[in-house]
Symmetry: C2
Subunit: 120 residues, 2 copies
DNA sequence: ACAAGTACTTACCCTAAAGTATGTATTATG
DNA sequence: CATAATACATACTTTAGGGTAAGTACTTGT
């Protein structure tokens, strides 16, 4: 009889990790591929929905709006709509969202350096 | 007959986005949930495989090693193994990987502030 | 002889995320 | 009356990532 490998209780561990690791906490909010990219474009200036869309041609509308909603729920972006037609909706960074600008800028800086071969 | 909505050629767009948006470039390297967390733990000091594992109990071995390999391929971490038994493998940040420390630190800083309610 | 520790690997499954393709409300304009 | 523009919504499919569980090689310790 071989010993049974103890199953790691991943779900419990995740809660603990959230409390202990600050980066894990951030990943819960802006983890994934698209969110930092969206935040990057909003960091330069608030934008209408269609402007964000044009700024990120590689994203589909479904995914874009989905992330915008989540970012809004998480208190990182603010949605403002004017009751006109055609609709006029603006997205901007909240205070918490603006707090992420150093993160985004650090990323951009690294990318530029990397592509210049600064780390080789 | 209704006009057919022109399908967006997402794949081509992605290449363009990569060239134009620095954050997109970063996301191609460290996008996803786990990579920044791994880099965070390596940023404090190089670690043996088992140490990384213990530092991130919420990750499974499969996913951990998978990401370590990718990070190595992308030139962000360095793997060094001593030909002894039991195996002794150390992971550390490369120069490019170290270049990401400001990003990681900015994240950690934001997380701490957020949880203190600094953005409310 | 068998367990224990290290650094993996592999096969299989499952779900969440992403992509495709369309539809909708409203109003101004030709 | 059809069209265009904006900001979405939604049904459906596909894919990639992640999770589970187990196996492997080699040696030291009991």
């Amino acid at each position: 009889m071989t010993a049974v490998k103890k199953a790691s209780t991943i779900q419990e561990n995740k809660q603990i990790a959230l409390d202990l690791c600050p980066v894990t906490y951030v990943m819960e909010k802006i983890g994934g591929y698209w969110k930092p990219i969206i935040l990057y474009h909003l960091s330069k200036q608030s934008k209408r929905y269609s402007e964000v869309k044009r700024a990120i041609p590689a994203i589909t509308e479904k995914v874009l709006i989905q992330h915008l909603k989540q970012l809004e729920e998480d208190g990182l972006v603010i949605r403002e709509s004017k009751p006109v037609v055609p609709p006029f909706v603006t997205y901007s960074l909240s205070t918490a969202g603006k707090g992420l600008i150093p993160v985004i800028n650090a990323m951009a800086k690294w990318a530029i350096k990397e592509r210049q071969g600064a780390f080789m």
